[in-house]
Amino acid sequence: MMIKIAVGPQEINPEAALSALRVYVSPGAGAVTSFTGVMRDESGEASALILEHYPGYTEAEIQKIADRASDRFGLLGLVVHHRIGRMVPGEVIVFVAAASAHRREAFEACDYVMDYLKSAAPLWKKEEGPKGETWIEPTDRDRSDRQRWED
């Protein structure tokens, strides 16, 4: 079992991370799924995004989310890369990949990890837009998405 967490300002390379996981879990894993979160441009409203973290603590909290996902879904491998710092539309913000024996667990693990990253990971997000900078807080949708795993 491998869990790899990376939080940093460098660009994320989803293809390389996915390929490394696939090699690591071969040939026991029958399923490798991934999710790539890309900064989108909502009709020109946000020109850039700035993500801040609390060094050490953020990584440890993401590790806890990953550990819970690994236990819950019986994963063979899990990779979580999160970008911080300033990024612009089209750039990758987050990458999650999960490997398991069968497909359902790998699909659900990516979904689970993303729901917790969006609503519980210690990250603070600021949008740079035409009207200046705005701090973003989780939406009701983010909270209800997470609630699906707690009912």
């Binding site: 990253l117 969006k118 609503s119 990971a121 990250l123 603070w124 807080e137 983010d142």
Partner: protein
């Protein structure tokens, strides 16, 4: 002791400070020392206190911890 402010709180209070707590201090006394008449920003709903990387309450003693952080509600990734 190092005090760390994250997110929008860093813009308000500065990213980090040093305070010299006495033995009896809890998070509440640290808030008074750091924020003065803006203490209500640090006692507002949604603000978390993290003492040496563990979530604590406002009444938790600082003891000999090295770092206290004030976290606004997280934004998620």
């Amino acid at each position: 002791m190092k005090i760390v402010f994250l997110g929008r709180l860093a813009e308000q209070f500065g990213a980090s400070h040093t305070i010299e707590p006495t033995e009896s201090w809890t998070v509440a006394e640290a808030i008074s020392a750091c924020a003065g008449d803006q203490a209500d920003m640090l006692t507002a709903p949604g603000i978390s206190y993290v003492l040496d990387h563990e979530i604590v309450r406002i009444g938790t003693p600082l003891a000999d911890a090295k770092e206290l952080a004030f976290l606004p509600p997280v934004s998620g990734g």
